[in-house]
Symmetry: C2
């Protein structure tokens, strides 16, 4: 019997910007030996304000760049692109495993809820697209899902104001009304890749017995399971950064999201 | 002697999104009889995170759409595009009067300062591009300009949280350090088209004897003077809305910026 050769090709991850680095961070924690190529389509962010067709087209272009660099799997680390483009990506690249961030979060939410009342916070585009509701209802048709757009959380995360009185005031203003009813949810899904940075202030603004589902975490767990890795080194843990514009800003803001320093000269600019 | 015929062609105004509607609002207050065509390049916003070359190219495309609709003058109601694209727009369209938002704000700031210490708040891109410093120093080389990026103000304006404890906390956090020195500025320039919506909380967060320069106001004043209008009706006060994506969101958020309702069905989607 011949031992199957290890596939040492990198895993491709893309997002409209730096938000997906929270997903990469979670992936790296579970798969520290893997090589990753991260593409931030910073020239065209945000995807959230664009039409479904446009986001699909952009996502296919991001995938092509990563595939040209030899990735063996693709993680769509962006809620908007996950909602809009997964079917098209899978149809265009049947040879590739393609993961999104919404389905794992929805599965985890259904697992965590006892009351069948689930709250989701996300960007306006994700809320409008009802992607979490669809995925949750496919598994728990009786669940009651309340989705709330929290765009200020995105701005706070990008500005680095993730603690202190401003972040606390924003979290209270968004979240208190969600939990002030007698029929309050027992699960809150962080349905935007920016929100894990605000996890402590979000945690402090909701009842202590509410379960928090971090879709970056749940996505990383699914990818690790599907790719069969639990830390067994395949590559060398190498990280490659691609962006479509603004290397300096990608490095500066991205470092906060990744939790370690990215140098501007490490970021390669690519044209899509 | 023959009376010169009135030029009833509309005035074109463009921005990357809805922010420029504060400029349009100020223009309309001064030129109520004029017709305006407003183009928000919402599919490609924000311009602030893009390279100068890209912003120049996008601005030329916006101008072409408006020129094809017969405008007689062009107002670049966007700080990023004003900083990046005015020379290219003027070179490409010598027959047209082209106005930006930065020069009028800089002129007003130099007029208003006694201490020659001027503060400018803007987006990260405008701050990084040093456009206000350049324009101020061209007129007052000895002036000391302190520019501060306030991206949370943009998010607050778009969310409609323009008053209350969150807006006040954000304003204090950004602005207090600017004025806590003995060499504090005596003029604050609102160098982003989103910021006039936050004028009351900004006003409350700075010393009472600081002059506020609103670049939407100063731009409207310059355009009104240059076009010779002071309310004498030329057109019928008609407003036309063009956007490159997301008519519903343009109408919803834009209504706040304009100060009156825009209906989604009034917004025509155009391709650039």
């Amino acid at each position: 019997m011949v031992a199957r050769e290890r596939d040492v090709r990198p895993i491709g991850v893309f997002d409209s910007g730096v938000g997906g680095l929270t997903v990469l961070r979670a992936l790296q924690a579970r798969l520290p030996g893997e090589d990753f190529i991260y593409l931030g389509d910073t020239a065209r962010l945000p995807y959230g304000s664009k039409s479904r067709e446009t986001v699909e087209r952009y996502s296919l272009q991001c995938a092509r760049v990563l595939i040209a660099r030899g990735v063996r799997a693709l993680v769509v680390a962006c809620n908007t692109a996950s909602a809009a483009a997964l079917p098209a990506l899978r149809a265009a690249h049947p040879e590739l495993q393609v993961f999104g961030v919404i389905e794992p979060g929805a599965i985890a939410a259904v697992r965590a809820t006892a009351s069948r009342r689930i709250a989701v916070i996300a960007t306006p585009a994700t809320v409008q697209g009802r992607a979490y509701e669809l995925q949750i209802h496919a598994r728990a048709p009786e669940a009651r899902v309340r989705a709330l757009a929290c765009p200020l959380f995105v701005a706070l995360a990008e500005e680095g104001w993730t603690e202190g009185p401003v972040a606390e005031a924003v979290a209270r203003r968004y979240l208190a009304p969600l939990f002030e009813t007698v029929e309050r949810p027992d699960v809150l899904v962080l349905g935007c890749t920016h929100f894990p940075l605000l996890r402590p202030v979000i945690r402090a603004a909701i009842p202590a017995d509410t379960a928090l589902v971090d879709s970056a975490e749940t996505t990383a767990a699914e990818v690790a399971t599907a790719l069969g890795g639990t830390g067994a080194a395949r590559g060398s843990g190498k990280l490659t950064w691609l962006a479509t514009d603004g290397a300096a800003r990608f490095a500066q803001v991205g470092s906060r999201f990744l939790g370690r320093t990215i140098e501007p000269q490490e970021v390669e600019l690519v044209d899509l």
